[in-house]
């Protein structure tokens, strides 16, 4: 399979990510991703893909939450706020009530195993009033718990269960955190980067399906 060589390569590619897309408050200038630079000469020449963002909206957020707003940047013109997880609920509530981001369009996570804060919780929120979108990113350590946003946006209920299922992130205050896509007894969280694509819970498969793994 053509994908096989990926596994040994991944450490380097992970490293490049960390320099490229990690929320560094000081230097958000992403194009300075040294390992990848030679590979993207054509795309690196046009305006930088990521840039610090300072507009009305981010200023209001910064005024309200000061140091809890770790960074504000835009990537391909899409605004991103990086937010401290300790204040995430207050920021979510403020987003919904004051800034009128009434729709939680999506909530997901990204695993960066080599970063200090391993996970990014990523919420795409949309405002019907202003027809704008904002992305909230909440960095989380490997053993840190997130706060459930199901009380603010009920959509988050299943989305958080999915994140719990596939990433193993725990949500405090969730009305019923359990697996949603995988069987309840399944071991492991497949969307983590250390979960290989061929890996599976062979014991579960043997016991419940009565077959040896086909892989």
């Amino acid at each position: 399979m053509a994908e096989e060589p990926k596994a040994p390569q991944s450490p380097e590619s992970l490293q490049s990510k960390e320099t490229g897309a990690s929320p560094q408050p000081s230097a958000a200038g992403a194009p300075a991703a040294p390992p990848v630079k030679p590979a993207v000469p054509a795309a690196a020449a046009p305006p930088p893909v990521q840039a610090p963002l300072d507009n009305e909206l981010t200023r209001r957020y910064r005024e309200h939450f000061e140091s809890a707003i770790l960074d504000a940047l835009q990537d391909r013109k899409q605004p991103i706020l990086i937010v401290d997880h300790a204040k995430m609920l207050q920021i979510a509530r403020y987003s919904r009530d004051t800034e009128k981001f009434d729709l939680l369009e999506d909530l997901t996570a990204v695993d960066w195993p080599r970063r200090e804060k391993r996970f990014d919780l990523v919420a795409q929120i949309y405002s019907f009033t202003h027809n704008t979108r904002l992305r909230l990113k909440i960095p989380l350590g490997a053993n840190e718990q997130a706060y459930s946003m199901a009380g603010i946006w009920p959509t988050a209920n299943w989305l958080e269960r999915e994140i719990f299922d596939l990433f193993g992130i725990d949500f405090l205050g969730h009305p019923g955190l359990k697996r949603i896509l995988l069987p309840d007894e399944w071991q492991g969280h497949p969307l983590r980067k250390d979960y290989d694509i061929l890996q599976q819970d062979t014991a579960w498969v043997r016991e419940n399906l009565g077959i040896e793994s086909g892989q």
């Binding site: 990510k17 990848v36 993207v40 046009p46 899409q78 009434d102 990204v110 795409q124 497949p190």
Partner: protein, 380 residues
């Protein structure tokens, strides 16, 4: 949008039963659940007092697969999520990666994409109409709907050789030039479709059995829709005149005139009317689009090996089911670092519990039908 946590049954590990209550399992192999959906119903007589959805039977780990394929290799996989609207899935994915690469498909490609996507919307809604009516007991519309859908699938087949999982678009544009008679075929379909759609709506719209089974069944008001994230026709039937094609136009939608049909009550009947009207609007978009397909290239300049600069992008489109979003993260390599798919069916299905409470078991069938879910997309 109450601040309280939505009272959802999903959290109950076991259902506590009262003296007169029983638990009924619907699915996973039940013809009316449109796939392998299992709904645990707690009943008091015939009335639903509580419910829990059990999903995941079709989980294939699409998002994990994405991290182990190149950008182009992953494109055919998205067709297999909402397999009755493969073209829409492909459009969302291709546009998301194009945004990530900061390229734009040429105008000709965008118009052809719009035509095919709108035909796909009609095909998806036709399949929904046929099966939804069948669930409720009207057998006839299914055969008519299949006849119309067949015409659309034939156009897809002529265009790209495939009928269901088409992989019609490529990142950067199109692989295939429109075949010679595409405009004629689309025009012929659209010309005859107007009378046909009228025929179907004559069969059902004023039909007292149909109204009895759908009026005030599964009501979801606009505040609840927004709070639960329900989108697409479900949201519009509750009276919110909002459509991503207008709000944040993509492909070539900004060039065409069309209306956003809305309902008022947010019940099953309104959702039916909204979808019927959407088919009419899609037909109008197709007719406008074939009038003037710009000449020019169909493919933007993208390399054979795609290496988007590190970063991330979120792009969503109005699929026949609702907001279909793609969140793609690149690390500068040839494979996506992460692809997240925001599935409209999954999120709309979350509202099921709220919609069926207090209704009869027979209405549950109608409400699952009206949500228009595809389990391939719910489970991914």
């Amino acid at each position: 949008m109450a601040d309280t946590v939505h009272q959802d049954a999903t959290h109950k590990t076991e259902m506590l039963l009262g003296a007169d209550e029983l638990v009924l399992n619907m699915g996973p192999q039940h013809p009316s659940t449109h796939g392998v959906l299992r709904v645990k119903l707690k009943l008091d007589g015939e009335r639903v007092v509580d419910s829990e959805c059990v999903i995941g039977y079709l989980h294939r780990g699409v998002e994990k697969i994405a991290e182990n394929r190149s950008y182009q290799q992953f494109a055919p996989y998205v067709d297999r999520m909402d397999y009755v609207a493969a073209v829409s899935n492909g459009l969302g994915y291709c546009e998301a990666v194009e945004k990530l690469l900061m390229v734009e498909a040429p105008p000709r490609a965008r118009v052809i994409r719009t035509i095919l996507t709108e035909l796909q919307r009609i095909a998806s809604h036709l399949l929904w109409l046929g099966t939804h009516a069948l669930d409720i007991g009207a057998l006839t519309p299914l055969f008519y709907c299949m006849r119309e859908r067949e015409e659309i699938l034939k156009i897809f087949e002529k265009y790209c050789g495939a009928r269901l999982t088409t992989h019609a678009f490529r990142i950067g544009g199109l692989q295939y030039e429109a075949y010679d008679t595409l405009e004629k075929d689309v025009e012929r379909f659209c010309k005859s479709f107007d009378a046909r759609i009228q025929e179907y709506s004559d069969l059902l719209t004023g039909n007292s059995i149909w109204i009895g089974r759908t009026r005030n069944v599964g009501v979801l008001n606009s505040a609840d829709c927004i709070a639960m994230g329900a989108s697409g026709p479900v949201l519009r039937a509750s009276g919110v005149q909002w459509d991503l094609r207008k709000a944040m136009p993509y492909a070539a939608y900004d060039q065409y005139k069309f209306e956003i049909p809305v309902g008022t009550r947010g019940d099953t009947y309104d959702r039916y009317l909204v979808r019927i009207d959407e088919m009419r609007q899609s037909r109008l978009i197709c007719l406008q689009a074939i009038e003037n397909i710009p000449a020019g290239p169909i493919m933007a300049r993208v390399g054979k090996v795609l290496k988007p600069p590190p970063g991330e992008v979120y792009h969503s489109i109005e699929s026949p089911k609702g907001i279909l979003g793609y969140y793609v993260v690149s690390d500068g390599g040839t494979q996506p670092y992460r692809v997240r798919i925001r599935p409209p069916s999954f999120i709309n299905l979350q509202a099921l519990d709220k919609m069926i409470r207090g209704h009869l078991v027979a209405d549950v069938v109608a409400i699952i039908g009206t949500l228009d879910i595809v389990l391939g997309e719910v489970d991914r």
